[in-house]
Symmetry: D2
Subunit: 319 residues, 4 copies
């Protein structure tokens, strides 16, 4: 009964919070095409027709697991960390539960959800504290969890996956950090690779950047210090097409350092607050690229944890 | 540099650990048909042929999100708990990063991975401290994570999903706790519902038990105290068929209390240590049942966290 | 080596943060009498002379443990929670380390440090994001820990403890919520109880409020909803005297609801940002009050965790 | 109300646990001189007379903070880790609570309690899963917290502190790893330093080992790999005297590697399960040693967290 109490400590004091919130005019860009109460943005594009079309891309039954393996040593944006602890609750000097001696391992996770392969929910990225639909932190980003745009609202992402192999396009083993995928580059690469970008797509970019983690000559420091990725014109182009999600094999999806000095994660802002598009990071796209796969069925079912902003994921590609 | 040190504190002492491990003969049941080094058990059944067949079941492009929403108030096996905290690192009295004012929400998870919709990896359930392939705790269940059978080894589960609606079979709105799905019941229900069980299937059972959480008359206490589910003969039958995974819309998948007094989670033991079959819990199968869907494409991509035993999941069904 | 990398991910991006911090004039009240670089505020008053005087108050050798017992069911300001998990790392099916069979229990804490008996470090309470010495959040309150005013800077608090028994003063078994200890009340109570307040004191107030947690008729909901405590004039009076710390047997030390409608934790602001005085909460002062002890040696050694704002404590009183 | 439910999930199953506990005869050494229900062992020696005597040792009013500063980079016994995160709940784009604009920093701790300066409660060290008073893991070491011997049972430790400076005794700047403090060494060092060891004392050993962390030439790797410390005869001698606690300026208090090959932490076993004596680790005793202080008032008030095994501490010495 005590646990319940925690929810009501100092209710009168807590109620004061809203009175001093800073009023902000809703910026023009903050109107969602999916309505004032929308919770899932571009996931509204996940229609049965598009899903059927994507299923139709499967030809071989080959499954690709796009989530890189993540652990305590995975480079992460500071101060993010994670740890997993395995334990055997109450079983240390006995044979477990019941006459059938049921023993079991359990595990505890302590850490941040934005590590390794991850989805950025629509509550992640903002412009000066204004988020998708013009929501401000005070509106929805409560310490106990997002009250809007939480990842529990998203059923998952199923659709046509498109892989654009930028390493192949640039003719390199691995794309260099600071290389911005411009609108022109993306168009040219898609054309080179015989694939068309469409509304509702999940577009993934391959750079072989993950070779820095597990390749012949690992350099995690370089991996984490910068990266190639989507540039501003590229982001605007993808938003114009109306894709559902954009992913990459880097920790931040977009080019770092940014094309313009002093700018940070501008593509995140174009995708999320301004267009309701999901971002997927640290996806291992190398097997798809190696197989020359450019279209596939993309299926992501992220854990639906109430109020969560991000989630560690493992999207499945099937071709 | 200090962080590195933590890994090597007292190496000489740590090295003593193995010398006192209790030797155990490998039980006869502990030989895996997939070999002595196998890490993924029945997921070996995930062949391109079976995946293609499963993809062929999609007729409408309708997507079902099977992961129930999970939060701090989700009933859990004690002492499991979880919490999510949303924060805005270093942004409280500024406009974030860069001239473009990049602000963002992040989140921290503290808790157990075996809460809500979950996959039990093959390192979860054992018989008197002996697990799949005859591994003992001392062999693989380290405090810092499983060294074998961790969920990072599993690429995901893709295959033919089969839903058996036990509520429909028994002719009730919700199946009562203590109801064991016997081999005969499962066969009869499958026949009634026109669906055949095959090797490599992901078999899900619907009981409408989740109505106790979000139905007209919620009773979470009853939800957590017991449950209907797979019985011993039912488990043996499914193992004989050679299914890949068994799931249900209850917290423990199998019948509680058990059919025989003093027995605990016997079906878990039949599936996991004895047959390498995955267990899926707390899946919301009601929408599939309501639509009368009995065959579908099942896609699960669980987060591949190194050393993890269980994982909160959201499998996707497509028909 | 990977762990090290985490510290340097995206250094160029992180460096952008400071450029957009909002400039703020340092308020007049924000000048500390202990200098511009001071880290410990009123703990500067902990001189050998005062310590010797406090030691001189010990007459009987009786020890009082002022830290209430704290657990997962302790009422807390939302969304604060805590949990403790006990485990036996790597010992489940063996006899531990070495030929001498060393086995051991360990424990994990997940949660907030501001629960139960606690010290509020000088980085805790602010006025519109301005803290002690005029520091703003951007200056020192980093997500990875306070860079100034962290509790690791404080060696501890040792001094003359004074107990003022407000229940006795008001002639009640337990002081009612909403009762503000005014300057006049505090003076009168001190006089009634024959104790003088002096610079450098640790002043504790007893209300018997904890009877709501463990008394004959527990009411944790009432405990957490409001409380008696220090009022604004009381806080100003104590600050004027120049006490080192103020503590109470309530979750928030000061009166809730506040004396003036729409005001929250004003005494916290008077003590911390404006005067560098420490706050101690949820101290069980009942045994001191029962024994009629009004002066004693007060010794607090809080764990010195780098960057921590608050800490769960157990101060010791000796008379 | 849901939170309550968590406590009762599967009660019938949980009740099965005890039935398969392995019966063990209580070893002869496991009889406590403080009775079959004792919870605090040698802390029973904390009598008013001894406390008064200890207070009488204070001559100068000088305060020593013995808890070393602990953070994410503090070397720890694997897999122990810790992190602190500072956040400003619900304040990111507003001015906090109330018309007085109350803003505040809070902090979250994720990690193990056995890091840095710590007290080992009597539930920490065992001999083949048997602990103080003959308790086995199954008796008291529940995953949700110790049901006996938890640190909430201990009011604190107050008594006569004795510092034995082993660096001075051996005539070295820093004592080498592997140096065992034998009974003879301890007697001789005490005699050299003019201090007598008595029943109920808190005995601390100084080796200057912490110079490896913050000295001119830091070597945290060496710090964590081994250490000087109490040897077996030394531990037996201290237990025979009947001290209340033994502490040191090393991570494990006792000599590593052990005097006898293949032995691990034998002094822990002599102190804790066999004699109910508390162990204190990672105490920074250098300032006491530098000042030539050998007797002092020792005051430890550890946080009283229900069910906790260990706790991060900051004992205060006053002379």
């Amino acid at each position: 009964m005590m646990l319940l109490v925690r929810q009501i400590v100092a209710p009168a004091v807590m109620a004061l919070a809203a009175t001093t919130a800073i009023a902000q005019d809703k910026p023009e860009w903050a109107t969602s095409k999916w309505g004032d109460d929308d919770q899932i943005g571009a996931a509204n594009l996940m229609t049965p027709e598009r899903v059927l079309d994507a299923v139709g891309l499967v030809t071989d039954g080959k499954v690709y697991s796009l989530g890189m393996i993540v652990g305590a040593d995975t480079p992460a944006f500071p101060p993010r960390t994670l740890s997993v602890t395995v334990l055997q609750p109450n079983q240390v000097s006995n044979s477990g539960l019941g006459s059938n001696k049921f023993t079991y391992n359990d595990d505890i996770f302590m850490g941040w959800l934005g590590i390794g392969p991850q989805i950025d929910g629509l509550g992640h990225a903002g412009i000066d504290h204004v988020y998708y639909r013009g929501l401000t932190d005070a509106d929805f980003a409560k310490a106990s969890g997002l009250t809007e745009l939480g990842l529990e609202k998203l059923p998952g992402l199923v659709g046509r996956g498109v892989l654009i192999d930028m390493a192949k396009f640039y003719g390199v083993d691995m794309v260099e950090e600071g290389t911005a995928y411009t609108a022109d580059d993306i168009k040219a690469a898609a054309e080179q690779q015989g694939v068309e970008l469409r509304e509702g797509d999940v577009v993934l970019f391959n750079s072989n950047w993950m070779d820095l983690l597990d390749g012949a000559d690992p350099d995690p420091l370089r991996f984490g210090s910068a990266e190639p990725g989507v540039g501003v014109s590229g982001a605007e182009y993808l938003a114009e097409i109306g894709v559902m999600a954009v992913g990459a094999d880097t920790w931040g999806m977009e080019v770092v350092p940014a094309e313009e000095e002093g700018v940070a994660f501008r593509a995140h802002q174009i995708f999320q607050p301004q267009n309701g598009i999901y971002i997927l990071e640290n996806l291992d796209t190398r097997a798809l690229a190696d197989d020359g796969v450019h279209e596939f069925l993309f299926v992501l079912g992220q854990a639906r944890i109430k109020g969560a902003v991000q989630m560690i994921i493992n999207p499945i590609a099937i071709r």
